[in-house]
Symmetry: C2
Subunit: 234 residues, 2 copies
Amino acid sequence: MAMRVVVLVSGGMDSVVALYAARERHEVVGALSFWYGAKHHPKELPFAAWHCERLGVPHRVITLEFVAALFRSDLLESGGPIPDGHYEEQTMKRTVVPFRNGILLSVAAGYAESIAAQGVVIAAHAGDHAIYPDCRKDFMRAMAGAIRAGTYGRVEVLRPFLRLTKGQIAARGRELGVDFARTWSCYKGGDAHCGTCGTCVERREAFREAGLPDPTSYASAAPLPPRPPPKPGQ
Amino acid sequence: MAMRVVVLVSGGMDSVVALYAARERHEVVGALSFWYGAKHHPKELPFAAWHCERLGVPHRVITLEFVAALFRSDLLESGGPIPDGHYEEQTMKRTVVPFRNGILLSVAAGYAESIAAQGVVIAAHAGDHAIYPDCRKDFMRAMAGAIRAGTYGRVEVLRPFLRLTKGQIAARGRELGVDFARTWSCYKGGDAHCGTCGTCVERREAFREAGLPDPTSYASAAPLPPRPPPKPGQ
């Protein structure tokens, strides 16, 4: 059923595809991005704005100053360097921003209710990682339940990519005409994608899995590291 | 078991008592207040700060500019006038700030995890109202579950007043030496408590129920309206 929805759009591959896909089924009444002091915001947020403008979707960037000032994570300007290597590795844990998706979904739920939207779209997907507890399915399910209870069922969390891998999302984006050169993944936020941090590795793997040309210019095109075996509970 | 906890303190009666009570059982490593554009913030927030300073608890006021700017509620400066009458009445619905407690708890959970606290204390109580969906028990339970899932069980939501009425909280505060003259309830945020809005009526009833002198100076001491009968599902 078509709904009035708000889409969370960071400017990364997945959420940009979610924005384009949402327009196929729903009335997209707003898109939200968040600034919370991450190193890569200056690179990703302009892409979020660009796609929203292209599609005529009202776009707002919400500032979470308190995360930048008070939270601890290497993802943030205030934190240490972004580690290289595969996403699963222990070092990437330092890039977790505590309860970030809970905060983002809560804000989006309140905003959605304020503008009489019935859904919040988030690009959570099957490949999301066990090192990020607030990306996992059981968190998403619990949070969706809390939002339902806390809005008298007026706001639903929609997770259209729940069963898709990142490669399948890339393929879907290709069908929808998404210009992936105008999306940003690298957590380091340098001039170009580094090609070696966990999120760059994941981006490169997604294009490879989808059999698509990767339009990204990487600072280092070192061979992709082998994927670690999946962990129980993922 | 004693925990390191963060307490949500608005400067109202219940949360101030929760702060004093938390110190009896836990190590209170921080107190959070929120500014989000409500009419009564200028009256309540200084009281929150006062009690924290008195108790030597580090206190932070977190600014949620986006609520003030984008959300719709008569509680906010941007909204219409605060209605008079009993809390339960339909008019008080206009003072709901969409998903406010979801947002506050999410922020507090992320902050707690950032400073290695294991609990977030909220003064939700048995008398909380069905017109506020994000005060009800089923929301609180769902949100506590989402926070547990989204932090790998590192942060618990503690609701010490779950089974207490507001009158019983007042009695508990008296035992703990809380100076209730330094707490604020009135949503209108005028020079004195109005005495007639839903939250003033509730404050007056709480002291009466507890058999305590009410130290509050009200602009109008009109007789309390009769309590409407409880509604199903409350």
